[in-house]
Symmetry: C2
Subunit: 348 residues, 2 copies
Amino acid sequence: MVLRKAKHTIQEFALIRAIERRFARGASRLVRGIGDDAAVIAASPPMWWHLTTDLLAEGVHFDLNTASPKSVGYRAAMANLSDIAAMGAVPRYLLTSLAIPKTLKSAHIYELYEGLMKACRLHGVRLIGGDTSASKAGLFLSITLIGTTAARRALFRHGAHVGDRIYVTGTLGDSLAGLQLLTGGKTPRSTRRKRARLSQSQRHFLVNRHLHPTARLAEGQWLNNARLATAAIDLSDGLSGDLRHICEESRVGAELDLGKIPISTACRAYAERHRLQPAQLALTGGEDYELLFTVPSKKQSTIERQARARGYRVTCIGTIRPHRFGIQMTSSDGTRRPIPMTSYEHFR
Amino acid sequence: MVLRKAKHTIQEFALIRAIERRFARGASRLVRGIGDDAAVIAASPPMWWHLTTDLLAEGVHFDLNTASPKSVGYRAAMANLSDIAAMGAVPRYLLTSLAIPKTLKSAHIYELYEGLMKACRLHGVRLIGGDTSASKAGLFLSITLIGTTAARRALFRHGAHVGDRIYVTGTLGDSLAGLQLLTGGKTPRSTRRKRARLSQSQRHFLVNRHLHPTARLAEGQWLNNARLATAAIDLSDGLSGDLRHICEESRVGAELDLGKIPISTACRAYAERHRLQPAQLALTGGEDYELLFTVPSKKQSTIERQARARGYRVTCIGTIRPHRFGIQMTSSDGTRRPIPMTSYEHFR
């Protein structure tokens, strides 16, 4: 039986501590950050604390042969920020742990932190703690993110009611299209030359949507503070899978109008060139990090007016139905069928 | 560039969620546990939140060939509970993430959670969230533990003053002796038969101290609430390394009286049989999870009286000296020399 803390097995750990201290300055409510047995936060007004954690494994969640350490760090932070956005919370503090293989250069570890902190800085999040250890096989990255809302004021997955309208922010499917562009895509050889190439700006848009996703924090806080949404989730597993989570937690069904799913011009062009249904990219493509939320039908005009005023893109894509209805989608030709169970197929 | 959430790549994940939900019931201040984008905690009285996180890697921190999954889980939780003990805090909530290789059976994952929750139940800690993913190589376990104290009331590493007496709880070196017994030890062949064998109960005591360490939560809360300690740390890296942390953070030196380090009868017998210095086991052996803390000299009689009344074992082992003194140890023969820089040699 062997279980130990291995805080000092890699020479670079002193460097990592230095990096962390460098990135961890400031924070008003922070009593004690890195350098003690635990980070300490002062909490006084009545509030709710939101805690989310993710463990990312090399070869499963990211591939350092094709991804820069900086982008791995950035996307890891953004995935957690997106969870906090879906609660309608303000992100505050980050704890991050790394298990580092001997083969990884300390410059790469620095770049990984740079990416993490770039995402955090965008949203005023402070690094307050973590742990580092050796790894026998591959890089592992664990992130815990803490956010706050006022007490009794948060968005959950379980509040959707029959008759509520289903909304999403932004456009869907871009991230999967961007990923396929980066990894060589799935174009059958025969079709490659017959169809128009994507423009450079379209390629750039899609790849950037994959590499630099944006957690919808402002939108989440707006929906929460204005009491407009009855339920919310972030789209990390694809519309199909994440809508299912809302339905399961709220014990309802849902009807999606496929033709209304917001698709970017670039994604539509990509789908056309690759003979794909754009809606299919949205249903099965993960990591868009847009918000999926439900709104009482009487608040539809309010939400659309406020969104326009704030410059947020929100689109109504369906309606919450009774549980027995299941989860179905209606095509533009009026045919209705169940949404397949498949979720985003993650890296294999 | 590939970075994704892989929450659904392993069939057992549904099972894991079920396991987590089973273990995650209750918790008064808990608004929302597993099943949403983040766990939510209601915080209202002015208090301090203590957050600690650890990432444990198979082959580095534990070896599933020699350790049962249950003991891996138990010890992982205890290592984090010990950090919370060193802050003088009450442990409250746990988030745990696993990256699981395909080769690991779901029964083993269940056992791992059993071990985790056994340690948590002992101290009223609730599992409130986490993440699961596939792993290409080995099991990785990330734990985040949250504890609380009253506002402006906690033990840090940085409060030690010149003249303070240095104390430890319990006995030191047992865990390393227990580990060496489990892994075959370091006895030179020639000496094995010349010396008395350890008794069965002595072996059992040492192995159990390694396999089932006890985080000193009651002792930490007592030291904090009674305002007796000026600084504290838990002994996870060995007395030598952890005393160094106190000295660095407090900008002081220290003088240890080697003869006063509390050594159990079993550890003394083990050291004698293996021709080791017992103090050496204490200085370099990690994972005792006892508390090391400093006390103003005028409070010495108070602390010793209160400890006796409560049945806590505390031992004065030295004195805080000025920074220029460095960190030195005095042997029973009166010779004084610097404490070597070596820390606990973790699993290689």
